[in-house]
Symmetry: C2
Subunit: 246 residues, 2 copies
């Protein structure tokens, strides 16, 4: 008997009343979106969903961000800032420990935070390479330390780049693995299985500890390889005994 049909999905929460003028701002939207993504993967975040979560009209978001892309960029900026802040200071006694600790922190921090991982890793590769380091003092310190250890600057940058790619690759592979978790098609499992190498033993559910052990293996291997490229080529001037370098 009703005259016009309003589909349930179309009318955003009818209880909500018009908000007063200054009741939201860009920062609130970003932090709200971050909070929303503690529950839902960023890729599934939707403007209407976010608006409902924030208790605003969808259109209001567009007053502060002219597109979803721009909002995501702001979230990324945010994630990047807190990520950089939470990276511990460098402290290894030698360049090898410094490198290892840096990238282990890098990995650990992002592996523990799904949203930060999605945002930061996705963004990281997006910019030019050379000027990248300049904007992050911790990274620049690392390069300086490598230079002090005897690496020519271009070698130091390549070393950093290699470790960075490996770490990002590890995170990305872990992430996409998590997402598409259980693949639907059992008949398609033939060529589908590929390259990925081979985890220790666990067939499917890779334990957190084991993933980290696998990560460490790569870092250790790369650092061992870098040792060879040191111009002085002292390699590791006594076998192991001392527990390694100095």
């Amino acid at each position: 008997m009703r005259r016009f049909h309003v589909p349930a999905s179309a009318k955003a929460n009818p209880k909500r009343r018009r908000r007063p003028r200054g009741s939201i701002n860009a920062a609130d939207i970003v932090s709200g979106a971050v909070e929303f993504c503690r529950t839902t993967p960023v890729d599934d975040m939707t403007m209407p969903q976010l608006a409902a979560f924030l208790n605003v009209g969808v259109t209001s978001i567009y007053w502060y961000f002219k597109s979803k892309r721009e909002l995501l960029d702001a979230m990324t900026e945010d994630a990047l800032a807190t990520f950089c802040d939470s990276m511990p200071p460098l402290r290894g006694p030698g360049w090898e420990d410094m490198l290892r600790e840096f990238f282990v922190s890098f990995y650990t921090l992002l592996a523990a935070d799904q949203l930060k991982c999605d945002l930061v890793v996705r963004r990281i590769s997006t910019e030019g390479h050379t000027r990248a380091i300049r904007s992050w003092d911790r990274a620049e310190q690392l390069l300086t330390a490598l230079a002090d250890a005897g690496f020519p600057p271009s070698l130091a940058r390549q070393a950093f780049f290699t470790l960075s790619i490996y770490t990002q690759g590890f995170l990305l592979v872990e992430r996409t693995g998590r997402i598409s978790g259980a693949i639907t098609s059992p008949p398609a499992a033939r060529a589908a299985d590929l390259v990925t190498g081979g985890a220790p033993a666990a067939p499917q559910p890779v334990a957190a500890g084991s993933a980290s052990a696998e990560f460490d293996f790569g870092i250790t291997t790369i650092i061992a390889g870098l040792r060879h490229l040191l111009p002085g080529d002292l390699v590791h001037q006594s076998p192991v005994e001392g527990g390694g370098r100095r």
Copy 2:
């Protein structure tokens, strides 16, 4: 004066006439989709767009694939098969050259084919690790060769895994870099630049040759690191003499 308004977008090409019974099949759809993606990135492929390209009703696709996901899986299966076929046989005289050639081919093949890269790299990480190799004979050959060279099986698998992660990481970073190419917001360029390490000199347009040189650096470094883990530890049998653990 027309009685009903049909929006232009809604009526799929009006010239097209109903197709006869057996005029399409799953294989045609997959190969058509692959052809379509020579022009458009997979991520932008749309069911209506694909249908128009194939000159079928959208719904017809759903007769053969019950979802877009399933179609993409079929395309991936396809890409994986031709990718495996085009991997050249192993031939390096030693394990080091074999590893290097394998992963350089891996990289080169996928770097040259946007679609294959998107599909294969995305899929690769999706499956369990251990059984992955078993399904690809070339990979299994490699592991056998590593075993012959003296690597214990679990070490061989970890070595393979590390190189694989690095290669995938490199491809992914290159790919996402290409996609979001020119970022919209110049003011956001601050913390946005991060980690990525530092390409030789080119500010933005990374030359193909330079990317490949960067890739090679990482492969070489990792292989050099692996040399140290050989149990016999002949390393390069002079400077280090005793070598390390055991």
